[in-house]
């Protein structure tokens, strides 16, 4: 999460004080991302240095010092909102590795390994859903943050379900010969036989 751009977004609504920025940041993100005052002021100083915000003056650095966004800051914010974040998958997803390894370890039931992870993920989702149930109806920001977590965890569970089904089918079907064109692609996605 870019604190820098979050502060620019809050200032795009109008001039604000440092302390006010911190309180509004936490409220808008469903209080899931705590932020300390020092972080707010360091970020504001850098934004001012880069000409993206302006302050009331050089003298007073206390909580009453006001900040406003500049035209450059508005451009920066608009560009950031439309720049896709890096969603490339990590080179080695730990859970994927565990399932691939479980297939090879003698005496290990890969379905049992999958279930351990599935249960853990469902338990995490239950906790997030409790939060949404209690407060999500009244706090739109929180509901969106919780939804994002739930969809992310749900996607991992779906992968586990797919892996479970695929392994079950593979155990029932005889292995088929591997087409020759595959090894290079296989190396690219990091799967070794």
């Amino acid at each position: 999460m870019s604190v820098r751009h979050a502060l620019l977004a809050l200032l795009s609504e109008g001039p604000k004080y440092g302390l006010q920025l911190r309180e509004e940041f936490e409220a808008r993100t469903g209080e899931v991302w705590p932020l300390n005052v020092g972080q707010v002021y360091t970020t504001l100083q850098r934004l001012e240095r880069d000409g993206l915000v302006e302050s009331d003056g050089a003298g007073d650095d206390g909580p009453q010092k006001g900040f406003r966004i500049t035209a450059g800051g508005e451009q920066e914010l608009a560009a950031w909102l439309r720049t896709p974040p890096d969603l490339a998958s990590p080179p080695r997803d730990e859970l994927v590795m565990k399932v691939l390894v479980a297939m090879r370890v003698p005496g290990t039931d890969v379905h049992e390994v999958i279930q351990v992870h599935r249960r853990y993920l469902v338990e995490l989702m239950q906790q997030w859903t409790r939060i949404k149930e209690d407060e999500g109806e009244f706090d739109l920001g929180l509901a969106l943050v919780v939804d994002a977590e739930l969809f992310r965890l749900d996607a991992v569970i779906r992968w586990l379900d797919a892996a479970d089904g695929r392994l079950k089918r593979a155990a029932a079907d005889p292995p088929r010969p591997v087409p020759v064109a595959l090894p290079r692609l296989r190396r690219r996605v990091g799967v070794r036989r």
Binding site: V122, Q126, K132, E133, D147, F151, D154
Partner: protein, 241 residues
């Protein structure tokens, strides 16, 4: 108190080479005020478990108790009465009768149970009101949106004095916001003391439950522990960035 109890329930279809074991020795207990979700892949026995719990089918072996009474010891009439009075069903495809209005659909189980039409209609309207559908009561199912139709189906499932709600993929093909509404309604019913069993392969629906039971090849293979408080998420490492 357990509203629903399955003890060593097995169900086998066919014989010999075509024999299929849909359920194998399933134990499950659902208390009043509790929602249990049953998760599992297609063919794991989820729907069979629900039809047996709702006395729509008999187990091959084992016992089913609803409100402490063993289904096997009940006459057919007694079971039918139990289904009408104590058990509510929510299906994936809503199953509303197209020729009846929303209010008539909701009142139907009460009328079938011998409640006077006027009383039944009033109870139906109250149930629709409770789900925010009072103004749509005189609409026919094809005049309602998918989300509204499913809310009518839930109103029909909770109308009267139902103690047990059985739901099979209750959000059907609804989008996630409408699906959440459905789960909220089922959850609210549980808070009022109803016991619910929700069968689903969708983890987002299952996460509304107090307990999630995992079914595989007709067996309960695992279940979730009682959930920790949500505070644990907010202080967990890695959540602060």
């Amino acid at each position: 108190m357990a509203v629903l109890e399955l003890r060593g329930v097995s169900k086998t279809y066919g014989t010999g080479a075509t024999e299929v074991h849909a359920l194998r020795g399933v134990d499950l207990s659902v208390n009043a005020g509790t929602m249990v979700a049953v998760m599992g892949p297609s063919g794991s026995g989820k729907s069979t478990l629900l039809t047996i719990a709702g006395s729509l089918e008999d187990p091959t072996s084992g016992e089913v108790l609803v409100g402490g009474a063993a289904l096997a010891e009940m006459s057919r009439n007694a079971k039918a009465r139990l289904r009408r009075r104590a058990v509510g069903y929510v299906f994936q495809d809503f199953n509303l009768l197209p020729g009846l209005t929303a209010a008539e659909n909701v009142a139907l189980p009460l009328e079938l149970d011998g409640v006077a039409a006027k009383t039944a209609r009033a109870a139906g309207l109250a149930a629709l009101d409770g789900l925010g559908l009072g103004e749509r009561a005189s609409r026919f199912p094809d005049e309602l949106s998918g989300g509204e139709r499913q809310r009518v189906a839930i109103a029909r499932a909770v109308v009267g004095d139902r103690r047990l709600l059985l739901a099979d993929e209750p959000s059907g093909a609804l989008d996630s916001v409408n699906a959440e509404d459905v789960m909220r309604l089922l959850h609210d019913a549980c808070k009022r003391g109803v016991a619910a069993v929700v069968v689903t392969h969708d983890a987002q629906l299952a996460s509304w439950a107090d307990r999630v039971v995992f079914l595989r090849d007709g067996r309960v293979v695992d279940q979730t522990s009682p959930p920790a408080g949500p505070e644990s998420l907010l202080t967990a490492p890695g959540q602060s960035q």
